[in-house]
């Protein structure tokens, strides 16, 4: 919240759209603003009435550079918008930088997402330190219901819950890297970096960056589902394959490759397999191991076929390992298997587990 917990004294708040951006149709702007307000009214007793003239509590406008409040915008990118906390006069007013490219999808800055964030300020919410929260100060694209638990707790601390509570499904908080019980969804190399997927986020570990960087999956790859099951890099083809359910996507660097998603069954997996738990490419053999439940498969990248004699038991072929795998990566003759909050360092040549660590040891915890 802002200092002194500024809020509207009544629950019936008025708003007025003073002018429109030429980037979108008027109806799209109206819809984005109404949906953004609805996100907050769904979880509070607040109601929002639209005015067409005169002074409203929340005056919404688009402007560029110095636009009348001595708080100038800065041209494209950088500052996207700002809003004033509840109060008389300029209080509650919400301004969008007209120099940005406003969209209703992920191609540039999504007006609905930015409006939902700014209107949070107009209702009394300050910035959140949770990267998964709508009130986090840095823009990121996501789909679905925009509020996280943190946002809902914050707004309800000011106005209370919605008495006619409609069921909303808040976005879960961002996973914290040093949670001792942290498990991974998937892990892969990507041109010398390590990418670790967990819930709607991924961590990027770069050898020259001291701290892992956490980003929303949708923010980088809007068309990839929010939940990644497995991923691996084939450095010879310079491709990273990402699995989610029965589909897979390919990345070249950070760019999605055309022609995907494809069905995982194209790899030769039987139709009974509905998801891949983990995948890892062994550069020395040219084989990719695909882990499903308590078994694994071997895919020959050169011939593009599944090796015969598979699936085989994980427990039998990787002694000392747990019988299921969440994620796996391969480094210089060692396989790193992740299962729940435990990481196994497995020597591929001597066929035994060398070390057992916490899963998040890879995240410098």
């Amino acid at each position: 919240h802002f200092p002194r917990h500024l809020k509207w004294p009544n629950t019936d708040v008025t708003f007025r759209i003073v002018n429109y951006t030429p980037d979108l149709k008027k109806s799209d702007v109206d819809r984005a603003i109404r949906n953004a307000l609805n996100a907050w009214s769904d979880v509070t007793p607040l109601t929002f009435k639209k005015l067409y003239k005169g002074n409203a509590d929340i005056m919404i406008s688009f402007g560029s550079k110095e636009h009348g409040d001595y708080n100038p915008f800065d041209g494209p990118n950088g500052l996207l918008a700002h809003a004033y906390p509840p109060g008389e006069g300029i209080g509650g007013d919400t301004h969008f930088d007209e120099d940005e490219d406003w969209t209703k999808d992920s191609s540039a800055y999504n007006l609905f997402i930015v409006a939902a964030h700014e209107l949070g300020h107009a209702l009394g919410m300050s910035h959140s330190t949770d990267p998964g929260a709508l009130m986090y100060p840095v823009y990121s694209y996501s789909t679905g219901y925009p509020l996280a638990e943190d946002d809902i707790e914050g707004i309800q601390a000011l106005y209370g819950p919605n008495p006619n509570s409609r069921k909303v499904k808040p976005r879960p908080d961002a996973p914290t890297k040093c949670d001792p019980m942290l498990s991974f969804d998937a892990a892969t190399e990507l041109r010398g970096e390590t990418v670790i997927f967990k819930d709607r986020f991924y961590w990027r570990l770069h050898p020259q960056m001291p701290e892992p960087e956490q980003t929303l999956i949708k923010s980088t790859w809007p068309s990839i589902p929010n939940k990644v099951d497995a991923a691996y890099e084939n450095p010879e083809k310079d491709l990273v394959i990402i699995f989610s359910g029965i589909r897979m996507w390919a990345l070249n660097g950070y760019n999605l490759v055309d022609g995907y998603p494809k069905y995982i069954h194209k790899l030769g997996l039987p139709k009974t397999i509905r998801k891949v738990d983990a995948a890892v490419h062994i550069g020395d053999t040219g084989k990719t191991l695909l882990f499903t439940d308590e078994e694994y498969w071997s895919y020959d990248e050169a011939s593009g076929t599944m090796d015969t004699g598979y699936p085989r038991s994980i427990e039998d072929d990787f002694p000392g390992m747990s019988d299921e795998v969440d994620a796996a990566v391969y480094h210089y003759g060692y396989l790193y298997f992740f299962h729940d909050h435990v990481q196994y360092e497995y020597s591929y040549t001597s066929k035994k587990v060398i070390r057992i660590m916490r899963t998040n040891a890879i995240l410098n915890c």
């Binding site: 950088g78 918008a81 960056m209």
Partner: protein, 80 residues
């Protein structure tokens, strides 16, 4: 040795960012090419807010975050 222009640009970017979002007082902050104590304190405050490694230095992660598109409302401090 004199600062490279890239370092100068980074320092200017950081000053502008911290003035706007963390209430860094106006004035020359890095006269000798080194961030002042006030600037370092604000860098630390920002690093703490964003869960970065708290060093007080303008490392790559900190600068990268300062360049991200964001909301113009300050992260901390009295709102004027």
């Amino acid at each position: 040795a004199p600062l490279s222009s890239e370092d100068k640009d980074d320092l200017l970017l950081a000053e502008k960012y911290l003035r706007r979002f963390y209430g860094l007082p106006a004035g020359l902050q890095g006269r000798q090419g080194q961030p002042s104590d006030a600037l370092k304190a604000k860098i630390k405050e920002m690093q703490r807010f964003f869960n970065l490694k708290v060093t007080g230095n303008l490392d790559e992660n900190t600068l990268e975050l300062m360049k991200e598109p964001r909301c113009g409302v300050p992260d901390i401090g009295e709102y004027n």
